[in-house]
């Protein structure tokens, strides 16, 4: 069973992947919720443009998305240089860049799940809340948001799972630096490129499967608990 034990380098890749995926989903959540809200309820010019923009990473080849990120968020890119200068946030060849790439790739899935559940909220309940004295912010916080929780959970888990598996955009944007940007898929890819790397690739593949199964299981459990609380009539 010796071959089952992960080497320190492999552990590093696993830990990094978890960190990157967690950061991508947690930071992505408020943006995802805001965009999902706008798409579900918004009535403004450019709605379909926003929708297209959000769905883009789903349709474009990941390499293209990664390259666009490199152009925009790279050290000399218009957004990247601004963020580096004013906020001290650097993306290129850092784990933060990997998180950005993973977040962008998972964003459409996250938004879609949240949007569907916001659309499913009965606006008549929101009207009822407003007649009881709740202003728009309170209505959102006490009625819309709690009723959207199942969709938010699903969105988070989908986003996390996508982030764990993201490869193309990440390796294009921030390369494949062990300990910094080498996530699970990148590490597996590296193993397959060197002679005798089969065992390592297999070990990491098993870890990858285990994490995905766990995420799915957790999402099922939470969705079931949430829907039991709401008691579909």
């Amino acid at each position: 069973m010796e071959w089952m034990v992960l080497s320190p380098e492999e552990w590093t890749a696993v830990r990094l992947s978890l960190k990157v995926a967690a950061a991508a989903t947690v930071v992505g959540l408020p943006f995802g919720l805001a965009v999902a809200w706008a798409l579900a309820r918004g009535r403004f010019w450019g709605l379909s443009l926003l929708n297209g923009l959000v769905l883009m990473p789903l349709i474009l080849p990941p390499v293209v998305t990664g390259y666009l990120l490199l152009i925009l968020f790279g050290r000399r890119g218009p957004i990247g240089s601004f963020l580096a200068e004013h906020l001290g946030i650097v993306f290129s060849f850092r784990w933060t860049g990997a998180a950005l790439a993973c977040g962008v790739m998972g964003f459409p899935l996250m938004v879609r799940a949240m949007r569907l559940s916001i659309e499913a909220v009965d606006t008549r309940l929101e009207e009822a809340a407003s007649t009881l004295g709740a202003n728009r912010a309170w209505v959102f916080a006490t009625v819309t948001l709690p009723l959207t929780v199942p969709g938010i959970v699903t969105g988070l888990i989908l986003g996390f799972a996508k982030a764990m598996g993201e490869f193309g955009a990440t390796i294009t944007f921030v390369s494949n630096i062990p300990g910094e940007t080498q996530t699970l898929p990148s590490a597996i890819y590296t193993f397959t490129q060197v002679p005798g790397g089969d065992a390592g690739a297999l070990r990491l593949t098993l870890v990858s499967i285990a994490v995905s199964m766990l995420a799915l299981f957790a999402s099922e459990l939470m969705a079931r608990r949430a829907s039991r609380r709401l008691d579909v009539e």
Binding site: R124, S130, T131, L132, G133, D231, E233
Partner: protein, 380 residues
Amino acid sequence: MTLEVDIRHRLGSFLLEASFAAAGGLTALFGRSGAGKTSIVNVIAGLIRPAEGRVLVDGEALLDTSRGLFLPPHRRRLGYVFQEGRLFPHLSVRQNLLYGRFFAGAARRGDGLDQVVDLLGLGALLDRRPARLSGGEKQRVAIGRALLSAPRLLLMDEPLASLDEARKAELMPYIERLRDEARVPIVYVSHSVPEVARLASTIVLLNEGRVAAAGPTAEIMQRIDLFPLTGRAEAGVIIEATVEDHDEGYGLTSLRSRAGRWRLPRIDAAVGEHLRLHVRARDVMLARTAPADVSALNVMAGVVAEIRAGTGPVVEIRLDCNGEPITARLTRYSVERLGLVPGAPVHALIKSVALDRRSLGGLGRAGRHGVAGDADAGDA
């Protein structure tokens, strides 16, 4: 409390053009489906913003398009009980009840949770989720939730419409108590004659987006010219009567009104209690001479006051029985055969078992209020 509504609003091809005022008690917005009742309540609540008009509560404008004023729903301090309850599914009954109370703020809190729970009989339901409640229980919780937001006015949009007859009968006494005890004026949307006959102190009769008539319930219900709008099948007068005695042997209750003595199957009411009795015009039979050997227990002597014949076979007649109006629906054939003309003396016969027990309700203090300021017409 005074409510003034004067609005014009187009909804597709439907033009809402309504103007009325209401005082305390329970004001029924009454009319057929599509008459614009719910739209008016939604305008009052601020859920619809009309093209033109004003809504004033106690002189304070909630809406005045001429001044560009529109108060959003959450700042109007009105309670709204919707037809389908609209309880929050993610909150318990207790949390639902306290929802509006939280926003009312400490200063405006009226009745406490305990009082409202008592009034509506919600004690056993507090820890349940809305999904575990029956239709009638849901509506009671919805009423409690609206009451606890300390509203100046309670809007109720067909709160009984989605319930079966048994649940309606179960909920109506609560609405009566609300009218008589909670002291919150109510605007009540309904298309049901038994409900309005039993609950309303004032009727605003709507037809195709306009106010066809408004006034104290008894006054509107006796007008045979309005029968096409009040719904011919159920239309009829409201008699205000006092419980005289109970005949336990035959299981009958006697009531006394100005027209005379009424007997009906035993009801649960104390002797001396004032009740309103809804007598449907279609249940009233007329005879020229005092009938002998007839099974009907209620025979009232009177004279024909008004006859309204349409083009069809049916004629509506209003009688004056010692100052109390009773309406009857007869065939034109019978009217001609009996030679009924205004002023003719007649006897009205009403089967005891035909008396509409669903609409038999307490008179309530609120029965004394009204648009015209005088609902005492039926009292001796």
